[in-house]
């Protein structure tokens, strides 16, 4: 019996890896897509965007001058203070606000920043009227660039607020402290005013509390998009292979090969196990090849982070589990279809939608709360998350046990249903 199972399985594996078309779908596509995604999203958590075009309309005053220095490189020492912003943006001074607004509307400028002259308002303590705001008119078609500009403007405004509030709050607080403890209020207030006058940037940019961003283990590590997208593409295209494997049973029935095999002394169970073993092993081999290939490609692209991680036992277990779940899914789709053509259409639709839902195309955790459970019904989700945890979070076996159990559970349930359906179908 084992010899027959081996013969049937080996024939399917051999056929799959000898078929150029199958190779295109199984290996070339996920590899090409991984490379594209790797080129699009750099490593280190950075998204490399083009300099953001910003117009600054300075209506006079100190704040306007600072905003101009922040976005438009000049000759002064302020260049060093705002080097990071200069690297991100391509700023210009606006003299014709109407034309600049039109440029934003046409998408030629990402944002127009208008800074009113606030000197008169801010020199009065307390201010005698609410000063007009800084306005940022931004291009809605540039969601990322405009978000960066708004964030920078808010940060500069808050730095300015700090200086201004320090003057206001500090002066008041020193006055009331002077009454309580007898300190020389006037001298202290003068010292405060001098500090704010002489070195406002130091106060504005003061960062007493810093934010250290880390991963689950509390380590600072950069995220490489390939750690997510290499598994996501590999799993997506492996599910297509597995669906083709399930469909091959229908094709064999259509071509009368199955019926001919049934006339030999080959039990139906042996045939099914052989077919499934062949399909399953094809998926496992496909995953292994893609793991090796994407690792090599990542190295060639100069990526430092390990795309799949170094927990080889965890990787192996996930490959086995995700291939099993995908084999069962492919079998279920084939069992649900009446013809091979129908199975082809069902599998394309189902695998695309499940891939999207499971995050194979883009991470999809942003679904509304009521639908947030949906990705968890897909094998793509558990597979991608498991591999990502191993690579990015340096997870241990215990950390991916839920993923393995979910995949194994899915595999068993889908396998049982499809075997039951198929057993009925194979009555000749």
């Amino acid at each position: 019996m084992l010899a027959k199972i081996y013969a049937i399985a080996w024939k399917d594996i051999y056929t799959a890896f000898k078929d150029r078309n199958a190779i295109l779908l199984m290996l070339a596509m996920p590899l090409i897509l991984s490379v594209i995604i790797g080129l699009v999203f750099g490593s280190g958590g950075d998204v490399s965007i083009n300099p953001i075009r910003v117009g600054v309309e300075n209506e006079g005053g100190a704040l306007g001058a600072m905003m101009q220095s922040a976005f438009v490189p000049g000759d002064g020492a302020a260049n060093a203070d705002f080097q990071t912003i200069h690297d991100l943006t391509d700023g210009e001074v606006v003299t014709d606000p109407d034309a600049a607004r039109q440029q934003v509307e046409d998408g030629d400028l990402t944002a127009l920043i208008t800074v009113p002259n606030l000197d008169a308002y801010l020199s009065a303590t307390p201010p005698d009227a609410a000063p007009p705001p800084i306005t940022v008119y931004y291009d809605s078609g540039s969601s990322i660039g405009s978000s960066v500009v708004r964030s920078i403007v808010q940060s500069i405004a808050d730095g300015w607020n700090t200086v201004f509030l320090a003057q206001q709050v500090g002066t008041d607080a020193l006055a009331s402290l002077g009454e309580q403890s007898g300190i020389d209020t006037q001298n202290a207030q003068q010292a405060l005013a001098d500090t704010l006058q002489n070195n406002p940037m130091a106060v504005a940019q003061s960062t007493t509390i810093t934010l250290n961003e880390t991963d689950l283990q509390g380590e600072t590590r950069d995220y490489d998009a390939l750690q997510y997208f290499a598994p996501s593409m590999a799993i997506l295209f492996m599910t297509f292979t597995m669906a083709a494997g399930g469909r091959s049973i229908l094709n064999e029935q259509k071509d009368w090969t199955l019926q001919r095999i049934m006339t030999t002394a080959t039990p139906r169970g042996t045939f099914m196990i052989g077919k499934l073993a062949g399909t399953y092993l094809t998926g496992v081999i496909q995953m292994v090849i893609l793991i090796v290939a994407t690792t090599v490609v990542a190295k060639m692209m100069g990526r430092e982070a390990s795309v799949w991680g170094t927990h080889y036992v965890g990787i192996a277990l996930l490959v086995l589990a995700v291939s099993f779940a995908a084999t069962s899914l492919g079998l279920l789709i084939a069992a649900a279809a009446k013809t091979a053509e129908q199975a082809d259409a069902y599998s394309t639709a189902a695998l695309f939608v499940l891939g999207m839902l499971g995050g194979s195309f883009v991470p999809i955790e942003g679904l509304p709360d009521a639908l947030s459970w949906l990705p968890k019904i897909t094998l793509n989700y558990w597979g991608i998350r498991g591999f990502f945890a191993l690579a990015y979070d340096k997870a241990q076996l215990s950390d991916i046990s839920t993923h393995l159990l979910a995949l194994a559970g899915m595999g068993i349930v889908l396998f049982a249903i499809s075997l039951w359906r198929f057993n009925k179908r194979l009555d000749i």
Binding site: L25, D139, S143, V153, S155, A157
Partner: protein, 405 residues
Amino acid sequence: MKSIITIAQYDLLRSVKERESFLIGLLMPALMMLLLGLAQSNNSATIYIDVVDNDHSDLSRRLVALYQEQMSGEDASFVICPYDGGAPDGCGLPETITSSTANDRLENIESSGLLVIPAGFGDALKAGEDAAVEYRRSGDLNAPTLAEQQIQSVLSQMNGSLAIARVTLDTLPADQHDAAFDIVLDRADAAWQQRPVAVQTEATTEDATTNGFNQSGPGMALMFVFIFVLNAATMLVADREIGTLQRLYTLPMGKWHIIAGKLLGRYLFGVLQFTILIVVGTMMGVEWGSNVPGIVLIVIVFTFTSTALGLLLATLVKTSAQAGNIALLMGLTLAPLGGAWWPMEIVPNFMQIVGHLSPIAWGMDAFGELMYYGGGVIDILPQMGALLLMGAIFFALGVRSFRYE
């Protein structure tokens, strides 16, 4: 001409009646448009941020309160979940919190981030020293950018208050610092409620940036129309494989009439598919722009380019299986390259140039003109010109190399 139309009409009707066409051509793209749109809308899911305060000082509690006040409003998409009490029910914190609770919640994506305030945080700040707060993020890849921006923004305010306190205390003798610290800090915190310098933002198109459907709608519609119409190659090669084309050649009409009819049928189905997807997208909330002639022009021209590429592909492959796989490969690679999966603006410059080898990039650009910049037919002429040029080249090469037998 009549014979071309008859063949086109037959092929179109056959495609419309096929259940597979409905499933793959319409239902699947509509579902994907919906899922991607929901996921890319900035305001769809609630993001839970856990907070572990290992310091239990006045200053650490002040920071936690500030986060709750600034980030957990009624309509906010963030919920702050402090482990020391005061966490809203939605956080779903377990009754017994162990040392592994926070990391377990992160791993299971029950929370998207974890703020850890270390012991000694308050003492360091009071002594005029710097301190750090740790932010651990989960594998929820959508959450970090949004959450980190907000967390950093609140921290900036706390830093502002501390800067005010520090610069004020520096004017006092050292023995007065302890007594004065809380007084100045309280006043500074209160003063932030009325920022003297405010920032007001205005978008060219209202709400356009938070509507994920504006990315997923055109992206999925273009990708699936492209893949479906490109499969004209599969149809032509399959007809040649099973002898349908050869049988049709026996009819009293030119061979090119037959091919033109078949291509026209697929083209018309593509136009129909595109139109239905635009209607479905509109029902989901995609803002396609108000210029209907512009939208119609994109549909007509983009589908033409895809059909012409389908014809060219049919000349390059030997079997229908090969055609189907290559059509899928081209669709799935040219779609992300062309900005169908994510906005082109996050792509490096050289990839933007490479991406414009994809017809989908020109389609996305044209839709962008209509959707974000109030453009019309004149504004999208450059994109349409590029698509027409591509289509003409593909068509000429396809006609020249097509093997009728």
